[in-house]
């Protein structure tokens, strides 16, 4: 590199040259470390900012999105925005939408995805129903008027995959005693997180909201197994063989939990108990029980 500020001929000796270089290197590395650490802190996504369809998981997304804004330009409904420094807490230059003001209209051809040059929006996504931008959650049962016993169902009706992503659960209205509640229920196996329900919610502040998946979903411990499912898959209990439950009852008596309750053997004669009291009371243990009830 001729002439790019090399020290030769300007009276700088080797010691000074190395010193200057170390100074620069130190300063720049410190700066770099600062940038790296700050970027870690600043890269959490606000709850109401939803990434476009096909967006990789947030951490990978930040490593793939080059902030070009092509998805913003190719969105026919103009819902996408790029994060701006200091005004929306989204990493500057990365795309997002806000469901309450501009939800994803779920275009069949998903034009924002092929516009992405770096696969930050996964080109493998070709069916918009497979998108998982977030998950709608009925966040407030105290204000959602369906829970108050009023007919609304707006979120259910605007849902593009209604009947799968949102269903209505009929419940008894205990307040009036004679009506039904039409309760909206979101199903995570079908909801794309488009946010049309949040946009449509008739309340001042929506009672159904779309959250990023990690905020909306719980997660079982990885070691956790549901015994009944494992049993169903395997056809038998996996840990110990099922032991039939036995009630500790006198001879000649059995118990049917979900049926008739206590059952006396017809011919059963009461054997003499070792306990003299029992012998005194003699007779049928059921009589004893019934007597007790009558006395109360």
């Amino acid at each position: 590199m001729k002439g790019s500020g090399k020290a030769k001929g300007r009276g700088v000796n080797r010691r000074q040259f190395i010193g200057n270089m170390l100074k620069t290197a130190c300063g720049v590395s410190l700066l770099g470390m600062g940038l790296g650490i700050y970027s870690r802190q600043a890269s959490s996504l606000p709850a109401m900012a939803i990434r476009p369809p096909g967006a990789l998981p947030e951490e990978e997304f930040l490593g793939s999105c080059i902030r070009c804004g092509m998805c913003v330009r190719d969105c026919p409904y103009d819902i996408l925005k790029l994060g701006q420094l200091g005004s929306d807490d989204v990493v500057p230059g990365t795309p997002y939408f806000t469901a309450r003001t501009g939800p994803c209209e779920m275009c069949v051809d998903i034009p924002c995805v092929p516009a992405c040059p770096t696969n930050a929006l996964d080109h493998g996504l070709t069916d918009i129903n497979e998108a998982r931008m977030g998950l709608a959650v009925v966040v407030d049962q105290e204000t959602c008027i369906a829970f108050l016993g009023l007919r609304c169902e707006v979120c259910f009706n605007v849902c593009p995959i209604r009947g799968d992503a949102i269903t209505l659960d009929y419940q008894h209205n205990t307040r009036s005693g004679k009506h039904a509640l039409f309760i909206p229920v979101v199903h995570s196996d079908a909801c794309t997180g488009c946010g049309l329900c949040e946009k449509a919610c008739i309340l001042e502040e929506a009672a159904i909201k779309v959250f990023p998946m990690h905020l909306a979903k719980g997660e079982l411990g990885k070691h956790y197994r549901l015994g009944w499912k494992e049993k169903q898959e395997a056809g038998e209990a996996l840990v110990t063989p099922d032991a039939e439950h036995r009630y500790n009852l006198p001879e000649g008596v059995s118990y049917d939990l979900q049926g008739r309750g206590l059952i006396m053997d017809e011919a059963g004669e009461i054997p003499v108990s070792s306990n003299p009291l029992n012998t005194l009371n003699n007779s049928n243990p059921l009589d004893t029980l019934n007597k007790g009830l009558e006395n109360q």
Binding site: M1, K2, G3, S4, G5, N20, M21, K23, T24, A25, G27, V28, S29, L31, G32, L35, G36, S39, R40, A42, S43, E59, E60, L62, G63, S64, C65, I66, R67, C68, G69, M70, V72, R73, D74, K81, L82, G83, Q84, L85, G86, S87, D88, V91, P92, G93, A115, C116, P117, T118, N119, A120, H123
Partner: protein, 305 residues
């Protein structure tokens, strides 16, 4: 502090205002023209170019991508799509031909800010003693490339004033203007050419890209130089001029070979003696031959450029 006469005064007197500002005007036209093309869509609804400097699509046909941004993405683990790769090949090829740092002086929006700083600095006669090495930018470039490797995230693009400025103008600025204001004040009060000439890793990247570029400023008529120093005064990388302008005795050719020359052409403008011209990097060999015919060829190259 005595005010120096504005550099280029003699040039205006000798060549007329238009000729003494020819490359500056063309440069501004280029900077605003490119910005205008990107703004035509969002402002008027005429979509010639979509995207921004990181990646753009012109007329649904010509992809262009920023090699520095894409390299960071690749280091973070991205496999770019075909369009992005085609785009980067085109951009790299063009800058390798016309000079990497042509990006800095003909495209980059931050150049408008730092040129203004320079102007204010000169008018107010401000001198500063802050020593920031001109090689700091290469260290910083290294940092921008190591960070995605370590964190898996394109960290530099969260802070990059260059992409932030352009994106801000096309997509909405937010508070990014604060960073630009910071650069503006930094260049006036902290260090001369502090950002573009010492720190900016984007410029450092493009300078590496243009190491062997064809188009170069050539001090063709260096024997006519009257040591007015106007070219040093206006040059954002003044260290690049000396070897070419004063190297005759040491046998150094008149071509400004340093890849940190931004090919802005301002030295050509302000020289009353018409010392500098755009030419090719091979002008050195031709000069050595010294035939009049070769000189004429150079002239045609510079016109084409």
């Amino acid at each position: 502090m005595a005010m120096k006469p504005r550099p280029g005064k003699e040039a205006v007197a000798a060549k007329g205002w238009l000729k003494a500002n020819k490359w500056l005007i063309l440069r501004r036209l280029s900077q605003f023209g490119i910005l205008g093309l990107f703004l035509l869509g969002p402002l008027v609804g005429v979509w010639i170019v979509k995207g921004n400097l990181a990646y753009s699509m012109t007329l649904d046909f010509l992809p262009l991508s920023d090699p520095h941004v894409l390299l960071q993405a690749v280091l973070a683990g991205v496999e770019p799509h075909k369009e992005a790769i085609i785009g980067v090949v085109i951009v790299v090829a063009v800058y390798m031909l016309i000079g990497g740092r042509v990006f800095c002086s003909w495209v980059c929006p931050v150049n408008l800010v730092t040129d203004l700083s320079c102007c204010v600095r000169r008018m107010l006669g401000i001198r500063t003693s802050t020593q920031i090495s001109r090689s700091a930018r290469y260290w910083l470039l290294g940092v921008t490339l190591i960070l995605p490797l370590v964190t898996g995230s394109i960290v530099w693009e969260m802070f990059n004033p260059v992409s932030m400025a352009f994106r801000g103008l096309v997509f909405g600025m937010g508070m990014a203007w604060v960073i630009l204001l910071g650069i503006f004040l930094f260049d006036i009060f902290v260090a001369k050419e502090g950002w573009c000439g010492r720190l900016c890793p984007v410029g450092a990247f493009y300078s590496l890209l243009g190491q062997k570029s064809l188009v170069r400023v050539v001090a063709e008529n260096r024997q006519k130089c009257d040591d007015c120093m106007d070219c040093f005064e206006v040059c954002p990388e003044e260290q690049v001029i000396r070897p070419a302008l004063y190297g005759a005795k040491q046998g150094v050719g008149p071509v400004i070979l340093s890849s940190n020359c931004t090919n802005c052409g301002r030295c050509i403008d302000v020289c009353a003696e018409d010392v500098f011209h755009f030419g090719s990097r091979f002008a050195n060999q031709k000069m050595n031959l010294g035939s009049a015919e070769d000189k004429r060829k150079d002239a045609t190259v510079s016109d084409a450029a």
